[in-house]
């Protein structure tokens, strides 16, 4: 199932509430007790990158900033730490959005990885510059690896509501 620009498949337009519902779900996933496990991906960053690439005009730096602030408060981290990282990543994702969808999913994932790594690196840098603190361990930087591996699955799941029936209907143009 190809969902890049190369495929001739035409998707239905996305519903705006679905974007925000998935962002909210990602935040919920981030706040699960499992988030303390090593190498767990940052779901909000992953879904944010996905929608910034797919729908750069519906979700952008503004929502990234707001979700970042919410994560900061929920996380008990510095106020603005997640917001800063998410805003930069949303910008990065929307600026590559026209190019990246021409690649097959595996190569897309390869280009997503530096963006997701950037989220962790920025937060680490900000934290060390601003207040200092414990080194969170290398597993902190492993999260983006697993998030990258989830990219094809995520693409499939999040685009499911936009898929059209594969069998052609004689009475329908598309």
């Amino acid at each position: 199932m190809q969902t890049s620009y190369r495929s001739s498949r035409i998707l239905l337009p996305v519903r705006p509430w679905f974007i925000f519902a998935t962002m909210f779900l990602a935040m919920l996933l981030n706040l699960l007790p499992t988030a303390a496990l090593p190498a767990f991906p940052d779901w909000v960053a992953l879904v944010l990158v996905f929608w910034s690439i797919r729908e750069p005009r519906r979700i952008g730096m503004g929502s990234a900033f707001l979700f970042g602030l919410a994560m900061d408060v929920a996380d008990a981290s510095l106020l603005g730490q997640h917001a800063f990282a998410y805003v930069l990543v949303a910008y990065g994702a929307s600026s590559v959005s026209r190019r990246i969808l021409w690649f097959p999913l595996r190569l897309q994932a390869l280009q997503i990885f530096p963006l997701l790594l950037l989220v962790q690196v920025i937060q680490y840098g900000l934290r060390m510059v601003m207040v200092g603190g414990d080194f969170p361990g290398l597993s902190y930087f492993l999260g983006p690896f697993f998030a990258t591996m989830l990219w094809p699955l995520l693409t499939f799941l999040l685009l499911l509501p936009q898929h059209q029936p594969v069998d052609h209907d004689a009475n329908r143009p598309i």
């Binding site: 699960l32 730096m61 900033f65 408060v73 996380d75 510095l78």
Partner: protein, 311 residues
């Protein structure tokens, strides 16, 4: 004059780079205001009203699993636990009664000697809800907040010893920084020798007793209790036990590693101690500090004037 603006058919708002600059500047301003000036507690409390329900929702499945587990705990085990608890209570009753009597006696003696009276320990029981997700610090969240008159700075203990200190209060919950956090320090006293020092978290579950000379009289297994000199922790609560001492001739200080006595990194119930009343300074000292403060403010005022003159 010709207008070179594009037609308004494809209105897309401000340019992405302008938006990026705006949001980056905004988040940097927030970061600095939060980290350096500590001004945003109100904003944080307001935002927590939105995030707190989400967090509660995220922790529901875990709670269900817990409840499911405890529901099927066998009756026999509960009965056994109950009888054991009764036994320990009976064991403790004699010491408890005696302690009460000793406390009264102590109070009377202190009054006779005209010493300051000791404050009795009081507080409220709170439950640890979850660990804060921030990987850079060691904090937990307890289920008592502004609603229960918890204040930042209150010490938190469990049945074995000091756990940490309340550092941030939200309407319904509060954040407790654990002893093992890198930013946390507690003034302590070695029980065996009475020597005072300060213990610091290392961030890896251990604590370090600093500023003791290399030849200090410290042994493995020494118990450290709060010294009470800070005006925050009451004296005498167990904090840590010495586990390793490195005495190197190259350093002036010994490196003394300790492990916390309380179950610091475990979940469970804790007690938030009531804040200690601020000890009033003797009259002469109070006047002196007031005079010093006045001098300091006038000095800084002068410095500011000078700086503005230079500019």
């Amino acid at each position: 004059m010709m207008d070179h603006q594009p037609p308004p058919f494809f209105k897309r708002g401000p340019a992405p780079l302008a938006l990026l600059t705006f949001y980056v500047a905004l988040s940097l301003a927030l970061l600095i205001a939060d980290a350096r000036l500590q001004m945003l507690e109100m904003l944080r409390q307001g935002l927590s009203l939105f995030t707190h329900p989400v967090q509660n929702m995220a922790h529901l499945p875990g709670q269900w699993v817990d409840q499911f587990g405890t529901y099927f705990v066998s009756l026999a085990r509960l009965q056994e636990e109950n009888s054991q608890l009764k036994r320990t209570r009976l064991d403790n009753v004699t010491t408890l009664l005696r302690t009460q009597q000793l406390e009264i006696e102590n109070q009377r003696l202190r009054r006779l000697l005209e010493l300051k009276e000791r404050q009795p320990a009081s507080g409220q029981v709170a439950q640890i809800l979850y660990t804060a997700r921030d990987p850079y610090s060691r904090r937990v969240v307890i289920d008592k907040g502004l609603q229960d008159h918890v204040q930042a700075g209150q010490p938190v203990i469990d049945d074995a010893g000091v756990v940490g200190q309340v550092t941030r209060v939200f309407p319904f919950v509060a954040e407790v920084t654990l002893l093992t956090d890198k930013e946390q320090s507690v003034p302590v006293q070695i029980v065996r020798t009475g020597q005072r020092s300060v213990i610091f978290g290392l961030g890896n579950g251990q604590l370090e007793l600093r500023f003791l000379p290399a030849n200090a009289d410290v042994q493995n297994g020494d118990l450290l209790v709060t010294s009470g000199l800070d005006g925050i922790y009451m004296a005498g609560f167990p904090v840590a036990k010495v586990v390793r001492i490195d005495r190197e001739a190259t350093h002036a200080f010994a490196r003394i590693f300790c492990l916390p006595i309380a179950a610091v990194e475990n979940f469970g119930e804790v007690m938030v101690l009531a804040p200690r009343p601020i000890a009033a300074l003797p009259d002469a000292l109070a006047k002196e500090t007031a005079a010093n403060e006045r001098k300091a403010t006038s000095k800084s005022g002068q410095a500011r004037k000078k700086r503005s003159m230079k500019e």
